[in-house]
């Protein structure tokens, strides 16, 4: 362009696709990807039988000792991959909800998905277990399915209760907190009424754990991320207009309610599947998009960046849990320790800004 191009914006074109090229988010995403690969390699090497990182890399590239290869690919890879996909799904779900509700506090945790999923999962164990099913209380398929439906039901309930001729972000948060609290108290009631064996198993699940994940856990989480990310990127086109408020977005030709329902729907499915695969891992969806937003700049959390950041956080939390706190500590405990102070910080910062 020889005209008056006043901005530093440049376009990038790949075939029929064209978008504005932004260097900072791209750089942040690359750094996150590198960090993820390194963390994953270190995590795969850790365990009762330590394997050096160089050996892990060799195995992943198709070489290495066959006994080590078995340990890495069959025993440890599902755990790390589940962590990566669950983290990515949560990060992405958080980025979508925060952008569409225009509030950094909005996340699937607060919109009822996580607690709804927990309630249904616990109910499936306690209520069927109470009928006298012997053996393992937490079933590898039944529990995730119950969690998935619980997350979807809770989100649908929140949406229906908060909808009144349109969706107001603040009302959505309040209703979400209400539904979450109700789910938590029902969950507690079920736990109290369960027998000790069941309660113990359920509690481990409730803390969000990557322990003894198998390929059965990897596949659904992987699928939902692989499908969810492109769908989110397509839907996110309308987020650019939605961000300016309902009226301005309508003025730009966006059908606001439909666009918003689509984005929230994708986020809910991502979060519900993630919870079904690894139990409730809290605060990832809340914290990661905001951190990535601050690193990347711009007006709303980056989608790819948040997915990568979520994966980094969950794998790092898993590594920390196993290295520092011992093998038995579930990853969800670490994310809560990181996330709770951050939530307080966000609340204080927002309150201050409103009063000044």
């Amino acid at each position: 362009m020889s005209g008056v191009v006043t901005t530093a914006r440049r376009g990038v074109r790949v075939g029929p696709f064209a978008a504005v090229w932004r260097r900072r988010p791209a750089a942040v995403a690359v750094v996150a990807l590198v960090a993820l690969v390194v963390l994953a390699a270190v995590n795969l090497g850790r365990g009762d039988f330590p394997i050096p990182v160089s050996e892990v890399v060799r195995i992943l590239l198709g070489g290495g000792d066959s006994a080590d290869a078995y340990i890495v690919t069959e025993l440890r890879l599902p755990r790390t991959l589940t962590g990566i996909f669950v983290g990515a799904a949560l990060g992405l779900a958080g980025a979508l909800t925060q952008a569409v509700v225009r509030n950094p506090l909005a996340s699937p945790d607060i919109l009822g998905v996580t607690d709804g999923a927990s309630l249904f999962a616990v109910a499936s164990v306690v209520l069927t277990g109470g009928a006298g099913v012997a053996g393992l209380a937490v079933s590898p398929i039944g529990t995730p399915l119950a969690a998935l439906s619980g997350g979807l039901v809770a989100a649908a309930l929140v949406y229906a209760l908060a909808y009144r001729k349109g969706l107001d972000g603040f009302r959505l948060l309040l209703v979400g907190i209400g539904v979450s609290s109700a789910s938590v108290s029902l969950t507690t009631y079920l736990l109290v009424s369960a027998n000790v064996l069941q309660a113990g198993q359920v509690l481990t699940w409730l803390r969000g754990s990557l322990a003894s994940r198998s390929w059965e856990n990897v596949v659904p989480a992987g699928l939902v991320v692989v499908i969810g990310l492109p769908v989110a990127i397509v839907l996110a086109f309308r987020l650019a207009a939605l961000e300016l408020g309902d009226e301005a977005a309508r003025g730009l030709g966006v059908r606001v309610d439909r666009a918003r329902a689509g984005v929230v729907g994708v986020a809910v499915v991502l979060a519900a599947v993630a919870t079904a695969c690894a139990g409730p891992i809290r605060f990832v969806a809340l914290v990661v998009p905001q951190i990535m937003l601050r690193l990347s700049g711009g007006s709303r959390p980056p989608l790819v960046g948040s997915a990568l950041g979520g994966a980094v956080l969950v794998v790092a939390a898993d590594l920390v849990a196993r290295t520092v706190l011992g093998e038995a500590v579930p990853v969800g405990v670490v994310t809560v320790v990181v996330g709770a102070p951050y939530l307080l910080y966000l609340l204080v910062r927002r309150t201050r800004r409103r009063t000044v």
Binding site: M1, G3, V4, V5, T6, T7, A8, R9, G11, V12, P16, F17, A18, A19, V20, R102, I233, V234, F237, A240, A241, E243, L244, G245, E247, A248, R250, G251, L252, G253, V254, R255, L293, G297, G298, S299, R300
Partner: protein, 287 residues
Amino acid sequence: MTSDATRVRLRADGLQVGYGEELVVGAGSSDGGEPGLDLDVVENTVTAVIGPNGCGKSTLLRAMARLLAPRHGHVLLDGERIDRIPSKQVATVLGVLPQDPVAPEGLVVADLVARGRHPHQRWFRQWSPDDEAVVAEALEWTGTSAFADRPLETLSGGQRQRVWISMALAQGTDVLLLDEPTTFLDLAHQVDVLDLVDRLHRERGRTVVMVLHDLNLAARYADRLVAMREGRIVVSGTPAEVLTESTMREVFGLEAKVVPDAVTGTPLVLPIGRRERRAGDRDVTDS
């Protein structure tokens, strides 16, 4: 060309709009007024809607911009029902600047103005050299190029409003609806923004409808005034036809003296409050 000059771009036909139970625009009146509001917006004119607070002028504008669905009646854009045209297509012909729009924190000026190109884009084509040229030109035209890379929240109210108008300009629509574009601005910036609107009309041939509070500025910048009260149009026409002492009484319940504006010759409304009336009475008794 005469037929073109009087072409109706936007029409309200028996419009009734409300929130909840209450009808804000187009209710019938107790003195036998027919329900439903009619309004024609002619090509290449500037129309200002005036009236007291709560008279439904913003509601009317929002219904005309298809932001609110009317209870009865229709809005016609170029003769076609606006609710039957795909919203995205409408957005290439009709632009709207809501009252007091809010940009998200961290959004830089160039990115906001680029959002005006949204109706012309698809998810896989979110940028084109054409878009970039239009955005750069819109920034240049409103004198906001210098802020292109600054977050919107670092600008003053007047600068911000210029940026929003740049966005509307980048949208490239023939018809532009502005809901109180001068609220919260000091007098100098009000004039500044309205000068910009005037240039949009004169240099770009845009058809503009705006809600304005300041009657004297409305008289200066609009070809046509529409005075509303209680959801109904009381009178409409040229500023000289509308801004009369009797209309002031009827529409605003205000005693006023209307004199020619010393600068432009358009009507200038000088309100007569209770204080002045008392002073006038005293003058009479004194003499």
